[in-house]
């Protein structure tokens, strides 16, 4: 087995706020291989973006990586000085963000913003960089890329801007791309197109893709594996098909219940009752306990540990819903 391109171990990110120290990401671990797609799912505030930013070394004060390790192609990133991180960002790990309307600098032309991304990492001529930028734009389906290079961001639609951002992020063929809900702000049809394109581009270059979303249905068609986050922790992980079909954690089951799908049309969307907890006021036991239909006495007092299950799965729950049988898992295993 080859070593994973991205390996995150026991990552802990804290923010010092007025209410005290908030642990936004608490002991998160996952790994992604070259060409693999991992979905990072969870409700708002569960720590998905903070995890993604941590991978790029973009946690700013008052936040900091308090513990854990992040390796990309075997190289440790936690603790690297800013200068060294700048060499990694955009070269080994790239990131695209949620809102395409604000992700490009409004006063700089597209060519400026793309060429600088190449020349920050490689000593190539302006002309060569420009050609690469043009090819990248053509690849993400932007018509007449030569002309569009000298346009400003506000001359593009939201979908087109996100394509430009994707093209820019992939200019240096990064080993890892973190996509933080890049389609959430877009039309459904454009979402699907962009999803397919990113998937195709990453497969071509063998880029490991971490796709952050709060929408499990997006993950279903896109990802190989999935990590479900709740209150800063990964509460369930496994291959997408397994997790979606037979969720172990009640929270995952709740998320699946809230996915609109064809056979449930007309029925109201199942919502997980209650609110996402405040990180500074987490209950002592399972953070999901106040909202969980399956909660029992121990849930309120004892924090569930990460428990591995057959088939490369794991979950944090005292009362797992579907416990995969060991032999069934053996059949699935390659």
């Amino acid at each position: 087995m080859t070593a994973p391109v991205l390996d995150v171990r026991d990552l802990k990110v804290t923010f010092s706020t007025r209410e005290g120290l908030v642990t936004a990401v608490d002991g998160v671990s996952f790994s992604v291989d070259a060409g693999e797609v991992m979905g990072l799912v969870g409700e708002s505030g569960s720590g998905k973006s903070v995890t993604g930013l941590a991978v790029l070394g973009l946690i700013d004060p008052p936040g900091r990586i308090a513990a854990g390790s992040i390796t990309v192609k075997g190289r440790e990133l936690v603790g690297l000085p800013e200068k060294a991180l700048q060499k990694v960002r955009g070269k080994d790990v790239a990131m695209i963000f949620q809102d395409p309307m604000t992700t490009l600098n409004p006063v700089l032309r597209i060519d400026t913003q793309m060429i600088e991304a190449i020349r920050a990492h490689e000593a190539v001529s302006e002309k060569a960089a420009r050609e690469r930028a043009r090819d990248a734009l053509a690849k993400v389906g932007i018509p007449s890329p030569d002309e569009r290079l000298s346009a400003y961001p506000n001359q593009f639609s939201g979908g087109m801007r996100q394509r430009v951002a994707i093209a820019t992020a992939l200019l240096n063929r990064p080993a890892v791309l973190v996509a933080d809900e890049p389609t959430t702000a877009l039309d459904v049809t454009i979402q699907a197109q962009i999803l397919a394109e990113v998937q195709k581009l990453c497969a071509e270059t063998g880029t490991a893709l971490v796709w952050i979303t709060h929408d499990l249905s997006v993950i279903a068609g896109l990802a190989d594996k999935v990590a479900v986050m709740y209150a800063g922790r990964v509460v369930e992980e496994g291959m997408v098909a397994d997790v979606l079909e037979r969720p172990i954690h009640p929270y995952t089951a709740g998320l699946i219940g809230s996915v609109p799908s064809r056979n449930k049309r007309g029925r109201p969307l199942a919502q997980i009752p209650g609110m996402t907890p405040q990180l500074s006021k987490l209950p002592p036991g399972c953070p999901f306990a106040p909202r969980c239909f399956n909660a029992t006495e121990p849930c309120h007092g004892i924090r569930p540990e990460r428990t591995p299950y057959p088939g490369g799965r794991a979950a944090r729950c005292h009362n797992p819903l579907n416990v995969p049988a060991a032999d069934a898992a053996r059949e699935l295993a390659p």
Binding site: Q86, N105, V107, L108, Y152, Q155
Partner: protein, 325 residues
Amino acid sequence: MLVYLIRRIGQSLLVIAVMAFLVFLAVYAVGDPVAILANPEANQAELDAIAARLGLDRPIWEQFGIFVWNALQGDLGTSFVYSESALKVIIERLPATMELAFVALLLSILIGVPLGVIAGLKPDSLVGRSIMSTSILGFSLPNFWIGLMLILLFAVELRWLPASGRGETVEVLGVHLSMFTWNGLSHLLLPAITLALYKSSLVIRIAQAGTREVMLQDYVRFARAKGLSSRRIVFVHVLKNMLIPVVTVLGLELGSMIAFAVVTETVFSYPGMGKLLIDSINRLDRPIVVAYLMLTVFIFVIINLVVDLLYAAIDPRVRLSEAKG
């Protein structure tokens, strides 16, 4: 862009026309210049003769008509005191004031933008806080007091710089300028610093707020995610966005700089338009006052126009949306 330009020029002309009317009305209501100009023992017939010579015996609307007609031909009246074209008298002093305002503007940019950016990048650091507290001082100290203190320190105590007047000038493109001679520059420095101190504080605050805001924008985060150096992020991504509010405010402030120069010029006995205005108000030299106000309005309008064009040049969003509209 052309449509935008034409529309902006149209608006500017309208502003000038309205201001002409207001200025004329306001000044007409002040004092009786005949009484000041005439010999104290003059009889009524002599007073009438002076009034007739100056055109002051005609009804006000007729005077305004004549004023507008002459103004359109570039004649804003003849100074009662200098017996010369009012505009000419003012324009002779214009380069001195413009030079003062320009040097002060330059100083406030050179001081304000770098300090503001530094304070904006590290708002919680000791340096950042010190810059911001010092800028409050620059805001609250009165202009004339700063001028007097500078004179005391640099002219009286240290004797490094002259306390008053304008230095040697050289002719550049037919205009007498003093900022290209040592002597001229040494005369210009103190009044320019006086005038610039308040403005640099303003620039520091705008630049600091702008930098802080821009640093939080998604596009800065994306720029960082691309692996750009901090220097490139600050000098290319942040500076250009941050300069938009700075240019806007400074443009408007250039006008007020010329107006503020009235006080500074008086303190430093600097022979510019501002000092001329004060002298003319004391002598009720109405045409000079009217011409001064008209010229100031004109300058304000031109500055606004230039700022808008500059703005469009920095910010493509203005350019493009205006072209469509």
